[in-house]
Amino acid sequence: MIYQGKQKIWSDYQKEIPDDHWYFVRSCIRQNFFPASEKMFSVITKDVLGKDIYETPYHTTCGGIAYHSDTIPQETVMTIVARQFALMTEAGYENYACSCITSFGNYAEILETWHEFPELEAKIREMLWKSCRREFKKPKYLAHTSDLIYKFRHEIASKAKFHLVDHATGEPLRVVEHIGCHYAKMFPHKGVGGAEYPCVLSGMIDSWGGQVIDYPERRHCCGYGFRQYHVKANRGYSVSNTHKKFESMEPYHPDMIITNCPGCPYFLDRWQYVISEMEGKTYGQNGYGIPVFTYEEVAGMVLGFDPWDLGLQLHQVAVEPLLEKIGIPYNPKTKYLGLDGKDIMKPGLPSVLKCC
């Protein structure tokens, strides 16, 4: 691999990311899968970096899942999105940051469509007005929250308590980065680093001390694929794709996986358990899996937040071996205690995949 070659391409795909005043919208599913992630985002941006990040409780789904599962027409999803923009306009913001990759792709697609077909935009404005008497300005900047973390990666690194290195050997950790399909595959110039070799996550990994590994199926989908998972008859297809990715990254012995999409970390994490049950195979060291993180979780770890406050106990694949490798202290006893100190109960152990 010729690193300079990649850097050249990355430099071709840099997008302008304003460094403050963001209208932040959450994802529908991330809070259930990785509850602390979005919390971490606001904590890091607001408290740690002191940025102005605005949220509204009136924000709803962007309609992306329904749209990509072919259950609602384009006008509907556009009107929903128009409403989000209206909320932003009303709050007096023009930088739109969303935490969901599907939403990001959805917004990008819609803005591009409106750009190509202004008459459609007019129609949607009319529909929005008819439906909820709202008007909107199109966001000046559209970013995914990982774009912001990417932008602030160096500041985070400078505040870092830990680095993505094996504290015993000092060797950088081998990190797999997985980018959500809808981040840049539709509009390469909308993503940091383009579609083929995005650097939004690898940038973070580099600056936090890890070593990105480039494996053959790096570009491949995590396997979620909306209707592939939602329709149970297709789930075999969904898990097969995940399996393909793990088979491909296995020889590189990755220490961890970082993702920037709601679905990916969930499926890369949970399917490891399913694969271990089906094939009796695990991909981590001595019987464990490869821990999968959201970029916020990793940022949190690096900044020295308590692993259990980051919600890492909700991962299927045990994170303890990695925490030890990095040297992050944790208290096994408090793993399954909620914020209020109540026991949230220990899950049953899988038959193959080793957990703590």
Partner: protein
Amino acid sequence: MKDNIVIVGGGIAGMEAAHQLLLLGYKPILVEKSDHLGGHVADWHKLFPDMSPAKDAVKDLAEKIKEANIFLDTEVSFINRLKNGYNVMFSNGVNVICKAILLATGFDLFEASKKEEYGYGIYDQVMTNSDLEHWFNTGEDKRIKGKDIKKIGFVHCVGSRDIKAGNPQCSKVCCITAIKQAMEVKEFFPDAEVYCFYMDLRLFGKKYEDFYIKAQMESGVHFIRGRVSEVSENINGQVIVKTEDTLSGKPAKITLDLLVLMSGIVCNKQAVDTASLVQVKTDSDGFLKSKDNILNIIETDSKGVFLAGTVTGPKTVPETVAEARAAALAIHNYLVTLK
């Protein structure tokens, strides 16, 4: 003292035109931006269909144009329109009044790195057709030298017939070049498996089809109909190529020790700038615009400005040479009518 003629571009088109003009009794001025004559052909190793050495062809032409005024490492800085003539200023400070200008500025090879997904300049074992010719000529290439090459792939249509790459046109010569190179590498690595990934095989020229059959029968080249979608690298540094085997209607993948990208012919951007100095526009395909694409590809809408070779679109060597001769004659006739 005969009328001055300026030939821009010292490739085979410019050289052949100069040669013909010398025979017609003119003393053309040939400017070449690089430090040597012969253009792209000079960098090539052997030429199809006779596999004759390219350098011989160039040497032969160079011999014939000794008499012409040749400026190497020289470019055209600007051109002023005069009454039936032009005032051409060269980068070396020379200033020429001429009656006719021949633009034989040739083509650029498509920048393979623009097709990111093919990983040129990113994966160690990916090279272009011209890199391979360079290796044929010099034997110097870290991608091949001292490597155990067992499987080699050729990707046709890299940057050709590709709207996304900005070149809808077919580069015309890549199919036969790929087959030529496939057979040549097979000579270097007799027990290597060679694969050609193609969309269509466009083997229109003299003896091209024979080449194809020879590649199948003697070199045992595997032809796989399907355009490569993406390339990735495995832990051993080999490249993994993904394509659709459209003949069986199934996706296919293969691990290769060397991948050769057949970079296509695209219009020479510098040529466009030079042409704009004499109000010669570009055609819809991005190449320079002739007066007429059927009966008069040589002349332009600007009086006294002529075109020859690949400035007007992809061409083979014999086509280019033939066009250069035609251009020389056209210039001669033009100058006669001026009197």
